[in-house]
């Protein structure tokens, strides 16, 4: 038991590396927030564009969504960070992490919103069009709110899955939580910083999971 505590919950190590972990939390939070906002907005915009049914445009949207859903984000991160400087494009670690995760989330979000649009009844569109709203206003006021509600449960799960991938930043030296923890671990020779990272992730993501539950229960509409 002592050995367990010594390894995973060493108070001296904890005290020493708490500032580093907190700094890591801050970095993770910033990147996660940026990824969520950019990824969801981009995905929503793509799904809206797709609903106009322009064939060539939709071809590119679908290609994008399929490719980014298929690729492991880590591979893209490594290519951008280590490969792109050779062709003269130098991006910082946090920027690479943000771009890749946002692009991945956008691809999934596009598909989720699109599924939402597809399950809005055809009659809803017809009612909007027949009352002179035209396509764009019917999209905005009638279809979009319904699609968004349908999209929230799967979207929330995807957002959680992708924001957790900020941990991939440790592969390119972004000083987010995991990276700070592994650095601390190699300096201290103790696994305690890793335990601290577990706590840090829980502090961030557990409230998000609870919020997700609340959001899901709130968005079912009033039934007779």
């Amino acid at each position: 038991m002592d050995r367990f505590l010594e390894t995973f919950l060493n108070p001296v190590v904890m005290a020493q590396y708490t500032p580093d972990i907190i700094a890591g939390i801050w970095v993770t939070l910033q990147i996660a927030a940026a990824v969520i906002v950019a990824g969801i907005l981009a995905g929503l915009a793509l799904a809206c564009l797709r609903s106009y049914g322009v064939k060539t445009l939709n071809f590119f949207i679908i290609c994008y969504a399929d490719i980014f859903r298929a690729l492991p984000p880590l591979v893209v991160i490594l290519i951008l960070y280590f490969g792109f400087p050779s062709i003269g494009i130098q991006l910082s670690g946090p920027m690479v992490l943000f771009l890749v995760l946002a692009a991945t989330l956008a691809a999934f979000a596009e598909e989720i919103f699109w599924a939402g649009f597809s399950s809005v009844e055809k009659g809803q569109w017809e009612a909007g069009i027949a009352t002179g709203l035209g396509f764009t206003r019917t999209l905005t006021y009638v279809a979009l709110p319904q699609a968004v509600r349908l999209a929230i449960p799967p979207l929330v799960n995807r957002v959680l899955a992708i924001t957790k991938m900020t941990a991939l930043g440790s592969a390119i030296g972004v000083s987010e939580i995991l990276s700070s923890a592994t650095t601390a671990q190699s300096f201290s020779g103790s696994a305690t910083p890793l335990t601290m990272s577990v706590a840090a992730y829980l502090v961030i993501f557990l409230p998000m999971v609870v919020f997700a539950r609340w959001l899901e229960s709130r968005t079912a509409w009033k039934k007779r």
């Binding site: 069009i129 009352t131 709110p145």
Partner: protein, 247 residues
């Protein structure tokens, strides 16, 4: 009866692929007239109605509403013309995420650009007219089918349409709820609204329609007053159909 045609369908044709659903349909509906369209399923009556506001795109022909051809002009012109053509669907199609009041004000605000106060007042008038002013704050999911359909009628009426199209407005309703919707339609007729009704409510047609049209196989087989058409149908196909639906 005023004789100015409010809605005129000229040589309307509609093909889906190689099947011709409507074969050169002609129809004139005068101001204030209620034209009732009957026919077996697949006769093209709903398609004809849906072509009248171009929810269904006609293959050829003209649709003239209040003196203007909706087949000519831009998309914007079409959207503006659609404000003059009310449509009521079999499935109601109220917006489930909006209150009854919002359902009735949305197009008033966004398409007619009425102020909120003006749209709200107009909506309450219309809801009053269909007997549902007390449900303004309810959501569609909380209403019965008959109530939903009356809200849908109010939603159309609030835009001051020149003609109202009804696509089987009572077919999705429980029998005991049909009456309330038909009553609203009857009121509308007595206020002078021009109406085209696709329906199977023969009793309503006898009582309220100025003219009944029997369609089969994408053509108008026969038309006349309700007495003529129901009492003394001339075409064999009309007789066969009427005996089936009344039998």
């Amino acid at each position: 009866m005023a004789n100015r045609p409010m809605l005129e369908v000229v040589a309307l044709e509609k093909r889906f692929g190689t099947t011709t659903v409507l074969k050169k349909i002609d129809l004139k509906v005068s101001q204030g007239e209620l034209v009732f369209v009957i026919g077996p399923s697949g006769s093209g009556k709903s398609t004809m109605l849906r072509c009248c506001n171009r929810l269904e795109e006609p293959t050829s022909g003209d649709i003239i509403v209040n003196g203007r051809n909706i087949m000519a002009g831009t998309r914007r012109d079409l959207d503006r013309m659609r404000l003059q053509i009310g449509m009521v669907f079999q499935g109601f199609h109220l917006y489930p995420h909006m209150s009854v009041l919002k359902n009735v004000t949305l197009a008033q605000r966004k398409a007619l650009k009425r102020s909120k106060a003006e749209a709200d007042a107009r909506a309450m008038d219309m809801l009053e007219q269909v007997g549902l002013a007390h449900k303004a704050d309810a959501y569609p999911g909380e209403l019965s089918g008959g109530q939903q359909q009356r809200v849908a009628i109010a939603r159309s009426l609030a835009l001051d349409p020149k003609v109202m199209l009804f696509d089987e407005p009572t077919s999705a309703l429980d029998p005991e709820l049909v009456g309330s919707v038909l009553k609203v339609m009857k009121d509308l007729k007595s206020k002078g609204m021009t109406m085209v009704v696709v329906s199977h409510e023969m009793g309503f047609a006898r009582e309220t329609a100025d003219r009944v049209i029997f369609m089969d196989g994408g053509v108008v087989v026969e038309e006349g007053t309700p007495d003529e058409l129901f009492g003394n149908p001339k075409a064999d196909r009309t007789r066969a159909f009427l005996s089936r639906v009344s039998g």
